[in-house]
């Protein structure tokens, strides 16, 4: 019996592109994601990371294989799986507050949960900006707002597609800490796509390393470091070089005891 978490087995997914050629976006994907864990998908672009997320979200359907959440087949999008896109997809015609309230209103549970909106505005540090429109805020603030919007209805799973890819390095590191804080507080299962190796090691329990043509998993790396993690500790750097080697970068092993 499969209890808890996401189970992906033998997934194959093909697309037909504009030239009418068949592209195998994913082949033979097997992955277990325990409840409450934080998993990163990493790999060069085109290796099917987004497709994995979209399959879990129910936005796409596999050609073959099964995806289950807590033992139940995933068929269509639902509010139990929050999705945060790379580009913030805040609705430009709604204020930040109404954007965050959208999922509650859509599910017709806004009245009894109106206070939750304020709680989440607070949680992502946007107090005072409730009545601004998205275009009046910076990219980082918009990403915070979409994070709040994705989790306000308490999804079991949060799917993040390169959530901080468009942010500058400092904002990004801040957001990683905030993501970890929210993850601990809310006890959600999180799956994040990233192309930043440091980010993956800094936040994840397990890192799924993927490779393109056809998209497949080449290695699942469990990160066994205590949090908070020091970004420049030797262990961290070892994980880093290990993953870079898996991705065919940085051929030389680093010496932990080298001096500058």
């Amino acid at each position: 019996m499969v209890e808890g978490g996401i189970s992906i087995s033998n997934i194959k997914k093909t697309f037909t592109n504009v030239q009418n050629e068949t592209i195998t976006a994913l082949l033979n994907i097997n992955l277990k994601i325990p409840t409450g864990s934080l998993t990163s998908l990493i790999g060069p672009s085109g290796c099917g990371k987004s497709t994995v997320l979209r399959l879990i979200a129910g936005l796409n359907h596999p050609d073959s294989g099964t995806l289950t959440l807590d033992g139940k087949q995933i068929e269509k999008p639902g509010s139990d799986r929050g999705f945060m896109f790379q580009q913030h997809t805040l609705f430009p015609w709604l204020t930040i507050r109404n954007n965050i309230a959208f999922s509650l209103k859509a599910q017709n549970i806004y009245k009894e949960n109106a206070s939750r909106v304020d709680e989440f505005i607070d949680l992502v540090g946007l107090k005072g900006f409730e009545n601004y429109y998205p275009h009046q805020l910076s990219g980082g603030m918009c990403q915070r707002a979409s994070l709040a919007r994705a989790i306000v209805s308490h999804p079991k799973v949060l799917l993040l597609d390169e959530p901080f890819g468009a942010l500058d390095a400092f904002t990004r590191m801040n957001m990683q800490d905030e993501l970890l804080r929210i993850w601990k507080e809310r006890n959600m299962t999180m799956i994040m796509v990233t192309h930043d190796v440091d980010e993956a090691i800094y936040v994840s329990d397990q890192i799924v390393v993927m490779s393109p043509r056809p998209g497949r998993i080449i290695k699942i790396v469990d990160v066994k470091l205590a949090r908070p993690r020091a970004r420049s500790s030797n262990d961290f750097l070892l994980y880093r070089s290990k993953i870079l080697r898996l991705l065919n970068f940085g051929g030389t092993e680093i010496q932990p005891e080298f001096s500058i």
Partner: protein, 336 residues
């Protein structure tokens, strides 16, 4: 944002007294222009070619303008806020007054323009004042046609556009029809519509609605087709149903396009309104203009044109106001 702008203006006013002074002079300009126009009007004799004006309405109008200019100038001395607004507009107002004065010179004073087609301002104003109640009757008739037709057209246009955008089967059957029938100028339907509708009013209303309907439909559909897919996807992941998505994502996202359609439709509807009144009706501003033209009463034609332009101006202003209210979220994003 507005606060920042306001304070900026104030600081420049303080730090550059020379600039402020030169602008303060501009608030006198309307007084000078009105006084000058009045002197020309009263000083120069009227040309003998023009029929003698019974009442000197234009002189009266200039006196009113002069009084307003004076009041505005004095208010500007005491209220800084009023002055900042007024001094930027003052040159324009002066220009208008000078233009009127030029018209006065070309018509009543020198009769340089053909007297029959270019009556004196006294006579045009005379028509507006003496024929006021009759023009009002025509105005109300036109406004009613315009409003009812516009509302029907806008409502049907938005509904059709949304249905075309969201229901593939509806699009399959209806879109070719829209493409074939829509571009025909709605006035071309006149012969057909006149015989198939019981009254001229209902026929005209229908044509105005038709004129608004087509651009609104096409642009609403276009707006919906152009919405980025991720908006729909993210709405789905937030548990929104199909109908919820249509009303809370599709329609608001297509709003900017919708307003362009409504704007185009409104312009087309004015043409239809005037044509409909000229062809079929026994009332309305379009009919009034046409009727007076046939009577060679060009002063009345100008009066009708002035009222007509006022209708169009007010209507478009209303539409822009509505757009700014509905599309506040676009402020600073897109301008059209």
């Amino acid at each position: 944002m507005a606060d920042i702008k306001g304070s900026e203006v104030e600081t420049t006013g303080k730090t550059a007294p020379g600039f402020a002074k030169s602008i303060k002079i501009s608030t006198i300009l309307p007084i000078v222009a009105a006084a000058g126009a009045l002197i020309v009007n009263l000083g120069l004799p009227d040309s003998a070619e023009h029929p003698i004006a019974e009442h000197h309405y234009f002189a009266g109008a200039l006196c009113v303008l002069l009084a307003f200019a004076g009041i505005a100038f004095i208010t500007g001395i005491f209220s800084q806020k009023f002055r900042t607004v007024y001094q930027s507009k003052a040159p324009f107002y002066s220009g208008i007054i000078l233009f009127l004065s030029l018209c006065d010179i070309l018509t009543a004073k020198t009769a340089l323009l053909p007297v029959l087609y270019f009556p004196s301002l006294d006579r045009v104003l005379g028509v507006l004042i003496e024929d006021f109640s009759f023009i009002c009757k025509c105005l109300i008739y036109s406004l009613r046609l315009q409003f009812v037709g516009w509302l029907c057209g806008a409502f049907c246009g938005i509904s059709t556009g949304v249905a075309l955008g969201f229901i593939p089967q509806f699009k399959y059957w209806t879109y070719p029809l829209v493409r074939i029938l829509g571009p025909i100028p709605s006035t071309a339907w006149f012969p057909l519509v006149l015989v198939s509708f019981p009254t001229v009013v209902s026929a005209s209303t229908f044509l105005i609605a038709l004129a608004v309907w087509f651009p609104t439909t096409v642009l609403t559909m276009n707006g919906i087709n152009n919405i980025q897919n991720s908006y729909f996807e993210v709405a789905e992941t937030m548990g929104a149903s199909k109908t919820y998505v249509i009303f809370h994502v599709g329609i608001p996202a297509a709003m900017p396009h919708m307003f362009i359609g409504l704007f185009n439709g409104t312009c087309a509807s004015f043409i239809t309104l005037v044509t409909a009144e000229m062809i079929g009706a026994k009332c309305g501003i379009g009919w009034y203009i046409n009727w007076q033209k046939e009577m060679m009463a060009y002063a009345n034609v100008y009066a009708g044109l002035i009222v007509m332009s006022l209708i169009c101006y007010c209507f478009i202003t209303l539409l822009f106001y509505l757009r700014d209210k509905v599309l506040v979220w676009q402020k600073g994003v897109i301008k059209w």
